[in-house]
């Protein structure tokens, strides 16, 4: 029976293949994994290599591609003024949004980690907004942010504040999207909550005996205990916020006055509206490089603040 499945993997005519069990196992392994390998080559590696080549060309699909060397990268720095804008917008969104979102998530997770009643229900409700992502949410927030009939300015008016134009105003649009991203705080919160439950209770007791207060317990027990998860959320946050698309596409189309002209929006418009395929690929590679560098910087910085329990046990 075993040899039958092996001969399926490598048909060798009628003769029973003389294979060691190890070789047979290896063949079976590669048979099982082959869909992934084929998929990887066709849908990832191939496009990846093609993308490198395309990034060096001018190509609108209709006429033949023209080799321009590093011209596309030069174009970003000199001709395409929206490249700089999109970088700035995405950068502000990330550097303001991620710390805000993560600290709020951590704060909420610590609160929910207290012995509260109906904790599971609370956790579920906090996570609910993260479940409904995409176009519907973008439309909902457009309505919530409506300057005249939206709920935010309605509530602000009740306490005597004249609300701003939110996503409809050039000065407030980006801030509005950051605010909106806080609605999905349940996502990192749930991850923090799980890791908080993994911090050994004995460490808190020991700290208490040493006379540590709430803040001290946080800095010397909680924070080190969950630092790997902070790293994880940080990296996921960077990757996610550099790829923002749907909100900007639906809600503002990058406006007003390019105030929410995100990086991937610029990429999309270039590639799929203006059919600059080569330039689009070049933009994608720069995006990848930025994400990679930021991630590496975060990993580098972990030497200062990251703590693995395994190291303590030496």
């Amino acid at each position: 029976m075993q040899s039958r499945s092996a001969s399926v993997a490598r048909p060798r005519g009628r003769t029973r293949p003389r294979l060691t069990p190890r070789a047979r196992e290896a063949i079976e392994f590669y048979t099982y994994v082959s869909p992934w390998i084929i998929g990887f080559i066709v849908f990832t590696l191939g496009p990846l290599l093609a993308s490198i080549g395309m990034a060096l060309t001018n190509w609108d699909i209709l006429s033949p591609a023209k080799f321009v060397g590093l011209g596309n990268f030069q174009r970003m720095l000199t001709k395409d003024r929206l490249f700089g804008t999109s970088l700035k917008v995405t950068g502000i969104y990330s550097f303001a949004g991620i710390p805000l979102r993560l600290s709020l998530a951590l704060f909420l997770a610590i609160l929910l980690n207290q012995p509260l009643k109906a904790k599971a229900v609370l956790r579920t409700l906090y996570y609910t907004p993260s479940v409904v992502s995409g176009v519907g949410v973008a439309l909902l927030w457009m309505w919530v942010f409506n300057p005249d009939f939206g709920v935010i300015n309605f509530l602000l008016a009740k306490i005597g504040i004249q609300g701003p134009g939110w996503v409809y105003s050039k000065d407030w649009a980006l801030f509005s999207l950051i605010l909106m991203s806080l609605w999905g705080v349940g996502q990192p919160m749930v991850i923090f909550l799980a890791s908080l439950q993994g911090v050994p209770q004995t460490l808190y007791e020991a700290a208490e005996i040493d006379g540590a207060g709430t803040w001290h317990k946080f800095t010397s027990v909680t924070f080190p205990g969950i630092s790997p998860v902070i790293l994880f959320n940080l990296v996921m946050g960077i990757i996610g916020s550099f790829q923002v698309f749907t909100q900007a596409f639906i809600m503002t189309e990058g406006g007003p006055s390019y105030a929410t002209y995100f990086y991937v929006l610029n990429l999309y418009y270039n590639a799929f509206r203006d059919f600059r395929m080569g330039y689009g690929c070049a933009l994608a590679w720069v995006l990848f490089a930025i994400i990679l560098v930021l991630t590496l910087l975060v990993f580098r910085s972990t030497a200062v603040w990251l703590y693995y329990e395994g190291e303590r046990k030496r």
């Binding site: 029976m1 075993q2 499945s5 079976e28 392994f29 994994v33 869909p35 992934w36 390998i37 998929g39 990887f40 849908f43 496009p47 990846l48 093609a50 993308s51 395309m54 207290q114 509260l116 009643k117 609370l122 579920t124 409700l125 996570y127 609910t128 907004p129 479940v131 409904v132 995409g134 176009v135 519907g136 439309l139 909902l140 309505w143 005249d148 009939f149 939206g150 709920v151 309605f154 509530l155 008016a157 609605w183 349940g186 996502q187 991850i191 909550l193 890791s195 996921m236 990757i239 996610g240 790829q243 749907t246 596409f249 999309y268 590639a271 799929f272 690929c281 590679w285 995006l287 990848f288």
Partner: protein, 292 residues
């Protein structure tokens, strides 16, 4: 959870502790109220007349409550057709992702072969690759294959491995199943596929369920891929159709009441799946940090 709540509250440093707990409750509930306002506003608007939606000052409770908005919004855009498209794409890509990933993950968890660990690293490293890098050449590939403006680009790739998150999660789960089960089955004359089919798969229902639920959320809410690949109106998914809703109603003023009703209808399956399977879901996120 109740274990902690049962003993300490009043026994320990009483007053200080009570104040702290009261503050905690207050903050958690206040945060929840703020978080729920958009949902409340959505439901409220979806039951108003258009005049009421644009009334000033706005009200929370619509009068009269206009349930008709729901069937009306359904008919404003070809909802049934878009629903059908979305279900076809979601269901077939989910099927591909679950079957494909479960087999690949089985190999990574249970078989030894030269290059296996290197290959697994490669699987994981594709997680770091932003989709945008391969997006354009993929588009050209699919266009060249004649798959542009069909469902194929949104379905077929999922039958090739099912994606790194799914492979990783399933492999981790399989690793927790005792090897003795495999050995016993081998002694009984079970083939490798037999072990997978009769032992591993039945024991992996929770993990497979997690994958299926995540796949459902991704596909159901996916916007960028349908936007790129589907051109004809009759192929649109719900998410895509929603963006054109404003144009299709042919009104000069955006009918926010209907728009909220239809958005709620589209979000409903996600909310239901989430509430029914929330334990599986939250555990899955906590384990892997998968984005929802």
């Amino acid at each position: 959870m109740t274990r902690g709540a049962a003993i300490p509250l009043w026994q320990r440093k009483s007053v200080h502790h009570m104040v702290l707990m009261a503050m905690t409750y207050f903050l958690v509930l206040a945060g929840l109220v703020v978080l729920m306002i958009p949902f409340g506003w959505m439901i409220s608007t979806s039951l108003k007349t258009l005049q009421q939606a644009f009334a000033f000052p706005p009200t929370w409770i619509p009068s009269p409550i206009r349930w008709r908005n729901y069937p009306d919004s359904w008919n404003y855009m070809p909802f049934t057709l878009y629903l059908r498209n979305t279900v076809i794409i979601t269901a077939s890509s989910m099927l591909g992702q679950v079957t494909s990933a479960s087999l690949v993950a089985y190999a990574f968890a249970r078989m030894r072969a030269p290059g296996r660990d290197l290959l697994f690293m490669l699987v994981l490293s594709t997680m770091m690759l932003p989709a945008q890098v391969t997006m354009i050449p993929r588009f050209i590939l699919f266009k060249y294959l004649g798959w542009f403006n069909t469902f194929k680009p949104l379905i077929v790739p999922f039958y090739f491995g099912g994606g790194p998150f799914a492979i990783f999660l399933l492999r981790q789960f399989y690793m927790t199943l005792p090897l003795e089960l495999d050995d016993a089955a081998t002694i009984d004359g079970c083939s490798r596929f037999g072990i997978f089919w009769r032992i591993i798969l039945p024991l992996s229902k929770p993990a497979l369920g997690t994958i299926a639920i995540f796949a459902f959320f991704w596909r159901w809410n996916d916007f960028m891929n349908p936007l790129i690949y589907l051109r004809s109106q009759h192929l649109r998914t719900l998410a895509l159709g929603l963006t054109y809703f404003r144009d299709e109603t042919g009104q000069t003023m955006i009918p926010w009441n209907l728009l909220m009703a239809v958005s709620l209808l589209i979000a409903l399956p996600c909310l239901l799946v989430f509430f029914f399977f929330q334990r599986v879901f939250v555990q899955g996120i906590a384990l892997t940090g998968i984005k929802g």
